[in-house]
Symmetry: C2
Subunit: 216 residues, 2 copies
DNA sequence: GGGAGTGTCTACCAAATGGTAGACAGGGTT
DNA sequence: AACCCTGTCTACCATTTGGTAGACACTCCC
């Protein structure tokens, strides 16, 4: 049976629903996603979706919760790993980029939630709060240590987040700029983003030492 | 007189509709905007909207066309002005930032169109094509002249665009990062963004000369 | 005064949407 | 066998949505 996107082996129905919902909410948006479509996509009746999740809102909440957990976990792990690494900023950035490329819909979901008004956003905020704090603290530490140019960590994170979001989700902008959207050019894009950030973050007058990990 | 957009004195109905539509499409999204809401917002019946614009799609197209024209004009002007200025990149950037702050909904609209699939995006692409070309050429020129770090101009533009979009439209992300959203902090945000970009773009080993225009 | 045209409105409609009610099938458990 | 529990489905409903048809002013022109 089923060999569409949902061809994963025997998977719990609620998880399959969550997958499809995250994808659709994250790419098309919440309002543009109808339960009927979702159901059809999964070979399920809409009512089966409503059996697992009592309402569309609840489905969104569940998708956000799971997405936030995934993202939090991935970045948390990389923050830990970074503590030991040579070039900490780069380690985290590579992790973020990898995540953005592998699960762009989750970043799209974050972006979508931002638009759905205070209520939903507040929930997401508390979910990602600890992660944000850790990242901010780590960045501030680097600044104090002199490995990163001094600036407001929150702002630096905002800029970085925005760029990653843009690279991961705004493929139309990339087309408009004449960037060809393919795996090959994606690697180049990542290299450029890392170089860009390296330049933006290296302390003034001291261009970052050519780190070994900085592939070219 | 009038200090809100909608209660401007005698303004052509179609322009008022276009204003409200741009705002709503750009912030809530296309599908989340109903013609009834729009009409109610304007004190008009939905059918009046459909008198001026034959369909919701046509309304979106018109909003995009006007928005693209505004954006194109603003940035084109700044590109011209920049040709004479000392620090060209900064001039353009300030213009972009000013635009992003004054009419964030138009940037949101661009972002929204990106999501509405190939069709609409292609239209926008041709509309903004010339602007993109000019910007890209100008940037490449700076790189050849050695005033900007060498990199793929398209990528640099993508990163910059993403950051501006993020700063202008993703206020929830800013909240999540603990950035207080106010006019005062907005000025600080702009300063930081300029500093960040200056660092990212200055040629290696030669930190940009402290330009006069770079306020602190 | 009488059209002609323009702009806005009041019905109305068909389709889609989120959600409810309840039937039905299958598998344990006793 | 009787029963319950779980998961899925078929109907159905109320509301919303984009869009149509046509009436009602109001103005300009003759």
């Amino acid at each position: 049976m089923a060999r569409m996107a949902t061809l994963t082996a025997p998977m719990r129905t609620d998880q399959r629903i969550l997958d499809a919902a995250s994808r659709s909410f994250g790419t098309r948006g919440f309002d543009s996603t109808s339960l009927d479509d979702l159901g059809h996509q999964l070979g399920l009746a809409k009512q089966t979706i409503l059996y697992w999740f009592p309402s569309k809102q609840a489905l969104l909440d569940a998708a956000v919760a799971r997405g936030a957990a995934e993202l939090s976990e991935a970045l948390d792990r990389s923050l830990e790993r970074a503590a030991l690494a040579e070039d900490r900023v780069e380690v985290v950035l590579r992790a973020a980029f990898r995540f953005a490329v592998r699960r762009p819909e989750l970043l799209g979901l974050v972006r979508e939630v931002s638009r759905l008004g205070e209520g939903r956003a507040a929930d997401l905020r508390t979910r990602l709060g600890p992660l944000v704090d850790r990242a901010q603290a780590a960045l501030a530490r680097e600044m104090r240590a002199g490995t990163v140019r001094r600036a407001d960590p929150a702002h630096v994170l905002l800029f970085t987040y925005s760029m990653v979001i843009g690279v991961a989700t705004d493929i139309e902008a990339q087309r408009a700029l004449g960037i060809d959207v393919s795996i090959a050019s994606l690697a180049k894009l990542r290299r450029e983003l890392l170089a860009f950030l390296r330049a933006a973050l290296s302390p003034i007058g001291a261009p970052a030492p050519p780190s070994v990990a900085f592939d070219r």
